[in-house]
Symmetry: C2
Subunit: 329 residues, 2 copies
């Protein structure tokens, strides 16, 4: 690698002068500036960003954590974050926690020693009390996750409202026995959904039946599993809030194969309005969520706060969602 000293030597100037040229400082004569630029080009010199990072104590990099990248929701979220970051000239380090507490801590260490300037948590594996101490090292932001006492910006959907809308829709369609799927039950964001679900039920004098609640439902496979479990119940729900289009697709497919008609025998509602909703038979009624927008807003907010070294304050943004009615309800 060519380094700044070599350029300096070739131009008979000090490396300070070369550095000034690189950083567009005034007070460099036109003549030397041109000469330095010429030599830089000739030698194809790129300054070491590692050295710069060390010196400046910042990295122009942010990290985002997700449980796993291969779920459409998270890959789209990341895409949103990345596109905004790219626009603002930040790099993005993507971290998959694989639902692992220790991996998440490793990522937080990146913040501690300034390998990244800030972090977006798209997953929350540890207790908040474990994460809190890292706030002094740089900004952290919750995206698509929720915590009631975290003193950081939180940006997500109005999960409560979304679930309420979805379940109300099922009730309007005449259903009285409604099931509920969620992914990680300990997640507070999932709790909010559950509260919305329950509110809609209670408003219509319906009960929340423990047997109709399913956990860790995230993928198409999980949808298969949920349908199988559900089928074995003596008293089966006639409608399902799945919390996830993949799960909805899985349930619907298994149902159709089993001769259970959707939506007549079983209505199913998804979440996120992924394209998969449009290719199943029947197509899937769902909640439209602006995922890319979510990612972009999160990244924008983080970047805005990277300059200041004031700690970020709690602030909850809930993006609106929309019910999209299709054939599965």
């Amino acid at each position: 690698m060519t380094k700044i000293d070599e350029i300096a030597k070739m131009c008979n100037v000090s490396k300070t002068t070369v550095s000034r040229v690189l950083n567009h400082h005034p007070y460099v004569s036109e003549e030397k500036r041109n000469q330095v630029l010429k030599v830089i080009k000739e030698l194809d010199y790129t300054p070491s960003s590692l050295a710069r990072q060390l010196r400046a104590n910042k990295s122009q990099t942010m990290a985002i954590s997700v449980p796993a990248i291969d779920h459409p929701f998270f890959s789209q979220l990341i895409k949103g974050v990345s596109s905004k970051a790219l626009e603002k000239d930040y790099k993005v380090l993507i971290f998959q926690t694989f639902y692992n507490v220790a991996t998440e801590m490793e990522m937080l260490d990146l913040l501690k020693n300034k390998e990244v300037d800030g972090i977006i948590l798209g997953a929350l594996e540890n207790e908040w009390s474990s994460i809190k101490p890292f706030l002094k090292y740089g900004p952290i932001l919750l995206c698509n996750e929720y915590h009631d006492s975290a003193a950081v910006p939180i940006i997500g959907y109005d999960e409560f409202d979304a679930a309420y809308k979805a379940v109300s829709h099922l009730i309007e369609r005449g259903h009285k026995k409604i099931g509920f799927c969620c992914d990680t039950p300990s997640s507070q964001a999932q709790q909010l959904r559950k509260e919305g679900f329950i509110k809609a039920l209670l408003e219509n004098d319906l009960q929340c039946e423990e047997d109709w609640m399913f956990d860790h439902a995230f993928s198409i496979q999980d949808g298969f599993r949920v349908f199988t479990e559900m089928s074995s119940l003596a008293d089966k729900p006639t409608a399902m809030f799945t919390g996830n289009d993949q799960v909805a697709a899985g349930i619907i497919k298994k149902a159709m194969v089993a001769g259970c008609r959707v939506p007549d025998d079983l209505a199913v509602i998804g979440y996120d309005n992924q394209f998969i909703c449009q290719v199943t038979t029947p197509t899937i009624t769902t909640i439209d969520t602006p995922i890319a927008e979510l990612g972009q807003q999160a990244a924008a907010k983080l970047i805005k706060n990277l300059g200041k070294n004031a700690e970020m304050k709690r602030e909850v943004v809930r993006l609106p969602t929309k019910l999209i009615v299709r054939e599965s309800t």
Copy 2:
């Protein structure tokens, strides 16, 4: 941030001794070692990896480029790479090129100044001649891409064989008018598929019809588009090699809605054996590709070569694929 000097001062030793403890060097007395470890724990000290990286001139980080992360194929590929990298204690910087030549060059610059130690190219936007000069800065590896003259390891599927198998299957089912979809037509990996496609046709005295070739087909939406374009043809194909499960799903859905029966009027074969194949109606015949395995092997090969500073040699690995017959053919 606590730094190594502070630890040294607190322990009344030199920072070299602290460094020795950190790096598990021998020749540190048990007594001092324990004392240092104790103080490190007390002050919650983490060494700056930025400083380490600068000093060692390596970063324990690899980069992988993909066109966009939100396509299931690429997110699964990345997952494979990441899991292997995590296991070997490497970080992964994920780079989305967004099909952009300049963004790809930016990533290559990371290699030049050792922000990353090596690169896996899962996308290939620039001409190889633009990429080749970067080989002197560190190992580069092609994954799921192909280039006939690149002197680097290439790891992908046997695309030729896969397409050949798929199309032969369609022909066995009695089809004589077979269409072909690909994503970026300039990609040499796509070319290999096309050659396999053509070989199967020629062996059965069939022609490759220009009107039945579709470009830039990647997503469900693209599948919708392809079906629409196809429908407007006077002479329509009766079978489609889509090169991609999403495209297959899109085509199938539009076909069914339009009253075109699958597979009777139109047979469709996918590629990658994504879960989506199992939730459409009809389910999708496809080529099973071990995507995670591909990513893991790529990462493993790269890591193996990061230690040595010898340039990597050309070496082509083609993982086998398998035909999975379902209802769409």
